[in-house]
Amino acid sequence: MVIIGENIHVIAQAVSIAIREKDAKVIQDLAKAQAEAGADYIDLNVGPMKKDTEATMQWLVNAVQEVTDLPLSIDTMNPVAMEAGLKACQKRPLLNSASGKTDSKEQMLPLAQKYNCDVVISVMTDRGMPPDVDSKIESIMDTVAYANELGIPNEDIWVDPILLPISTAGEGQRFTVLNLEFIKILEDVLPGVKSTVGLSNTSNGVPDQLRPLLNRTYAVMLGKNGLYSAIADPLDKELMSLIKGELTGIVELIYKTMDGEDIDLSSLSQKEVEYVKTAKVLMAETLYSDAWLES
């Protein structure tokens, strides 16, 4: 699985300050750490970036490129910042992201064509978030067809089904289940497209110490269903080991849980039990609560 390192994110206060004060070292340290940890792309989430847009974007991209050869994922909703970022990239970047919304189709997708880069396209449309698998498929097929007409081939498109937090009152598990399903059938309905997710979104709102377990387990589950890439935290060593196939015992256990095999929990270590329980809440076999490991 291709990992897009998520740690240069404007929501992190240190990053926001570093960008504002043009303190390259903070940014470069984060980029280096993620590269060393095995990230395949470095995501630059700069938010709306309303001031000195072009100069700041250029500075940021260059600062990161000074310390790593990895390709970059330019992550902003601002088309001016996006273009400035793409223009400054030395390696073929990832435009993160476009969607089926009219303004995105008109302003973002043409940039992907102009700069001949890969592009994340989410299932969002002017009508908002499609509520079920069928409508997600319908929305993404429309937007991909539109992108194809602009000259963007399926192979350059990374489809994002948009993950929502599992802890969303009563509804969260419906989303974790339908996104597993979406990833599973995506290749059949849009041959050649790639896929990606904002992995950490799944565990938003969950107690901090429990978030990595949900992220790791879901990455393995989505991976089994064919997920191509994830925007995730490469500094999570266990996550990286799992997706590189190093922890084969755990991976197989998660697969077995997904396949509905009977698993004797008493024969497992505590860590293995936790992965099984987590897989079961992600596939909505058991009702989610923040105490899902305790029951």
Partner: protein, 301 residues
Amino acid sequence: MEYKAPVEAYTGVVREVTIGKGKKSLKIGGENMLPLHFFDQGSNPNPAKFALEVLDMEPQDWPKHAVEPFKDVISDPVSWAKKCQDFAVDAVSLSLISTDPAVKNAPADKAAALAKEVAEAIDVPLIVYGSGDEKKDAEVLPKVAEVCDGMNLLIGPVLKENYEVVGRAILDHGHTAIAQSPLDINLLKELNVKLSKFFPPERIVIDSLSSALGYGMEYSFSLIERVKQIGVITKDSMTMMPIIANLGAECWKTKQAKENKEQGLLWEGITALSLLLAGANILVLRHPETLKLIKEIIESR
């Protein structure tokens, strides 16, 4: 070709919970079917029960038509509770609203002594609701549990914020707990999981909050429905508890119920009937005529 209607059989059983002691006791829950699914396999050994609400102080904001049935006893909670029995209630629910720091901040001792006096004066089990102030309830409810030792009252609300101290007292003094969470099935389960670590689940009743018609009742309906489904169909141990719908106070807060009597009775009646259909096992009402209305509807089924 002959058509044969499919018949479901469920694997989960809602725990049967006993409230009160000896002659003054009743059972709720125990069903192994979805509410009103009489066409499926399974049964409900304990049809829904009803309680009327008594306040521990003279009500301040009740409309005349809500006070009317109890006007001669409204300032005496013990007589009020006794009078509830004239209306064939299965239980009485005492609300200790005077203990609320925002109302009278009445001391825990006084509230506990009253709870005991009421419990002893009536021939049906007693439900005791604290004010809902999580800090004050952590003083008041343990005191109630202690003073009423061994009477197996149904005591709540036990909240995420105070379940350790309140739950422990309810357990130690032989009562049953109302575990309350704010209209969220994930939080509801979490509280039951945490409480069950030291508290027997067969002594827990779920209160998922009951909103009035027009004020979010459909959320309460869906939640009760879902708790039942997850318990009875998927056999989730932490949702297989009976449910209390404490709806009287919510209904009589509404402008519509205050406006006139008939509207008030219908407001409370429709809310009660809806939550009953969703699967509530015991319902707390305010007006005796609503109770009469609901019972007539059930009997004419």
